[in-house]
Amino acid sequence: MIIKHSVKNHSAHKDEILERIERFKSYYNTKMPSDYVRQTGERIHLDNVHSDLHVHDILKPHLDYVFTEVLHEPMDQIGQHLKLGKFNDFDWSVHNAWFQQFLPVSKDTPDAGGHTWHLQPGCQFTSVYFVDLPDSKYSIEVLGLNEKLITIDAKDGDIITFPSWLQHRVIPNHGTKNNTIIVINTSFNLTDANSNK
């Protein structure tokens, strides 16, 4: 089950989100430790992946913007897909969200930025917003339960949502420009259902 949503007015959102991310990067060390994205066992800060996932307890204006300006429509689409509207209103909640920026090979970054196969525990769904995807070849891969790749065909401005228990990875960026995504982990329930946590 893969749900694709094309964000309206993406180009305007994109400029604002990228600007906010750049500002954030100028204040904090966003170089991502290797244990987040590689199975190396050794924790080193990578030059080729930037993120705010490891930066805690501070305001993240790029996420505030996505939550208020972008997220409501795709979340509504997912809830309808789950047939939650069949009974009554439904709610959704965000458990965690972060940006990730994968740098291409350059003099300063000899390795292409990527993120090896992983899952997202503690949520029903993972959504990936392709804020800046210059080359669709370097988006994400999602593996089905038959161990075959699920065709994604994501492009700049798409939000791809899939069950959090499907293994996925970000393809190493062998393009020439940065890839920037925002990842959002969510759960859904009927508004008046008192869910068992």
Binding site: L119, G122, N189, A193, S195
Partner: protein, 182 residues
């Protein structure tokens, strides 16, 4: 993936002990489940659903016993959904509870949040037609077979319910899980 069913091969050996431990817990705590947790609209009789879900921070010996017994089933589910494809995997239980349905007791359609999977062990299921009903993404009920002593696993986002019980006491142990790659 829709529904995975696993047999718990020691069900007949541990059923009585688990029910006895639940009964002991019920004597010490008010396990009558407030209708706001399970009903939609009309209240059900307070006595028709018992659970420990609304009781926090107390020991639950039946869960300790249960998880010792069924750890291999959680691993089995992980293997069935190919978690070991790229190496070792880990699993996590987020929350667990019992629910016991008497005459008329029911639980309205709902999902489970903050987890990947919902698991339901049918500890006491006198009539299989009263097993958990699960709705597919086509809006229709998913047909599946399950009986007492089996555990089902479903994606936590699927709507499911326990319809009003008229089968004699039904008891389930339910728990939420997630998997991750080590």
């Amino acid at each position: 993936m829709q529904i995975l069913t696993n047999d718990f091969d020691r069900h007949s050996e541990v059923k009585a002990e688990l029910l006895e431990l639940i009964d002991s817990f019920k004597k010490e705590h008010d396990t009558r489940m407030p209708s706001k947790y399970v009903e939609h609209g009309e209240d059900h009789p307070l006595d028709s659903v018992h659970s420990d879900w609304h009781i926090t921070d107390v020991p639950r010996p039946y869960l300790v016993k249960f998880f010792k017994e069924i750890e291999h089933l959680i691993l089995n589910v992980g293997n069935k959904i190919h978690m070991g494809m790229f190496g070792e995997f880990e699993w996590n239980i987020h929350y667990a509870w019992f629910q016991q349905y008497y005459d008329g007791g029911n639980h309205w359609w709902h999902t489970h949040q903050e987890c990947q999977f919902t698991n339901i062990y049918f500890l006491e299921l006198p009539d299989e037609s009263y097993k958990t009903e699960i709705m597919g993404l086509d809006g229709k009920k998913i047909e599946y077979e399950a009986k007492e002593g089996q555990m089902i696993t479903l994606p936590s986002f699927l709507l499911h319910r326990s319809k009003p019980n008229q089968s004699g006491r039904k008891t389930i142990l339910s728990f939420n899980t997630s998997y991750g790659i080590l």
